[in-house]
Symmetry: none
Subunit: 413 residues, 2 copies
Amino acid sequence: MRAVLVIADGMADRPIRELGWKTPLEAAHRPALNQLARNGVSGILDPIAPGVPPGTDTSTLALLGYDPLKVYSGRGALEAVGSGVEVLPGDVAFRCNFATVDKNFVVLDRRAGRIVNEDATELAESLQKIKIKRSLNVEFFFKNTVQHRAALVIRGHSLSTAISDSDPEVAGKPVLEAKPLSGLPEAKRTARIVNYLTQEFHKVLKKHPVNKERAKHKLIVANMVLCRGAGTIPKIAPLSEVFGIKAACIAAVPLIRGVCKVAGMKLISVKGATGTIQTDYTAKARAAVDASKTNDFVLVHVKATDVASHDGNFKQKIEAVQNFDKMLRFMLEHVGLDSTYLAVTADHTTSSVTGNHEGDPVPVVISGPYVRQDDVVEFGERSCAKGGLNRIRGTDLMHTLMDLLGKTRKFGA
Amino acid sequence: MRAVLVIADGMADRPIRELGWKTPLEAAHRPALNQLARNGVSGILDPIAPGVPPGTDTSTLALLGYDPLKVYSGRGALEAVGSGVEVLPGDVAFRCNFATVDKNFVVLDRRAGRIVNEDATELAESLQKIKIKRSLNVEFFFKNTVQHRAALVIRGHSLSTAISDSDPEVAGKPVLEAKPLSGLPEAKRTARIVNYLTQEFHKVLKKHPVNKERAKHKLIVANMVLCRGAGTIPKIAPLSEVFGIKAACIAAVPLIRGVCKVAGMKLISVKGATGTIQTDYTAKARAAVDASKTNDFVLVHVKATDVASHDGNFKQKIEAVQNFDKMLRFMLEHVGLDSTYLAVTADHTTSSVTGNHEGDPVPVVISGPYVRQDDVVEFGERSCAKGGLNRIRGTDLMHTLMDLLGKTRKFGA
């Protein structure tokens, strides 16, 4: 017996007027999802709690059975770890964006036009070469990940995560000064380091050949690095210890890979799985089927559904759901349903209207040999609310799956 | 976008034999409530937890998003604040009743025949004139509110809420001596003050002209003050801080006004809204519609449904529900449904059979532009249990509403 948990990032939505008040999921052709609902037990799930908009990181921690309210320690370190950047205890790590600013440091584009990986890599390599001034007595590691995304790790004595972001979170506002959020000297020192690096990065970026080339091709330049989510490594026991299982993760997005890495899961890389809307679904599905043969638990994460909704593009979201459904079809046909529990959910609701993560529950289904199959025949936000799981919390799902695998311990006698 | 939360006090009930095992709510003609259910998302809600009978105060705290298990500090201070009596940190406040006792201090009527406001005011003014003996080194403030209800605030050094009630809670038992509930001198001192005041109050009341007049008209006299619910001001952040909203409250009952006041809400007084079965529903509805134009959140509280059930009068309860429904009709027609989330619930179940608050869940509905409309077409204790919200907790509702308004913060990244 094994379990495969497939998470479609931000797949849940709110009803949309233009879709006759259906959600994109409800409007999509989704025969595989509906087959899972027909054969399984469905429900709705609050990743954190009703009405609380989850981050992708906090939700994924919850879906792996960890209580994010207790263990979450910021995005930065998770993303850095997931990007293959080493983060040690004591390090402070940041999620960064390549961005575009004007002369007055006002942000014009928080994603530098979703800069391509090749350009971002060349810029990041130049930034890593910067010699930091001796008096700061600190090291840094900077690495780009997917498109405009990057990670920054600061290593040295007396650092703190209690500093504010330099990222203003919206275009049209100036880059912020990182500020200490506590009176401790560690916080002041860390803020000073971040502000220093922000300046140094800008100096290198504004005259960088890659940007000159971009300007020539009428592309907006990546002349700033915005930092947010100062964090450290969360202190959690690996899944091998918690449930005694061998677990693997198939995800392209560094933040998810980071969460899975700190949970002690094996990270499987799939050629063509990009974390974008053009990701290769079949390659991912095949990798998941393969991984399920040698692992007790496989987490598969698909980002495309969320990308579409952040852009407010519900038609593209329907398409992403339909592609996701094809991926599930492949898994249904190859995964060995008599010995596999196949669960599908979303890590949060993303509204195609607001473009934001929202606190609405997400649909969830568990299909497999011994679930209490219910009457639900469609996988959707509303249909699943009538299912046999009723309304559960994010942390409940993993325990339910592990219990089906016989990997839980009796509490009491 | 704005939200209006309408709370019908104790509206939920248990099935009643004489109603063919329907509840009063289910038996009532309630077209507006049913319209809300048809257009909205419904569910059942445990104000505190399943099987835990909530107080009106703890439930209202929960419905505003505060965890009453963490912040509740007694009824007395909330009621006093809601009556316009100032309560400062360190003060100990009590909910009081004018009551009727015989020569042996046995309680004949805990509400002095639901004494009219005019009589109660005259009595309270006399009580406030009592000169407290110097040696106690303490001040007191006594104010009547609605009918037999009143508030007592004790101010001075070394006071404690750890004292028992003087109110025996049922007729036929003698007035209790307030006793210290801890070994601390503060508790002993506070109990001594309450017992002293009880004696002094009785001395003034028993020979008061108002009571002589009442006796002449064959009305039972208000010759005793019963104290209960020693409390202090709860330490909570105002809603303006928690959610960044402007919030107002329309309620006649001091306890509700007190909860809303400590939550930083504006208290709106409505002429004709009395907190009794004869309350002017239309005036309340109109005030709610007006308030919704200048506030992000408006809480409207109707007491009449609870009064009827405490009296075991399920026919009157049906009538109260039907009046409540007319009030909602007015709101539905005037509130601007394309930009308003209208939510309706009860703060607890009150059984018309036992006359008590019970721990059964209450029905809840949220209607508004982007809710996941479900199949529920009737608002009732059982029909709502099949709704898309499934079963939530009291504290979940406010977060859900605030999330619909875009007033929640993402947890994580």
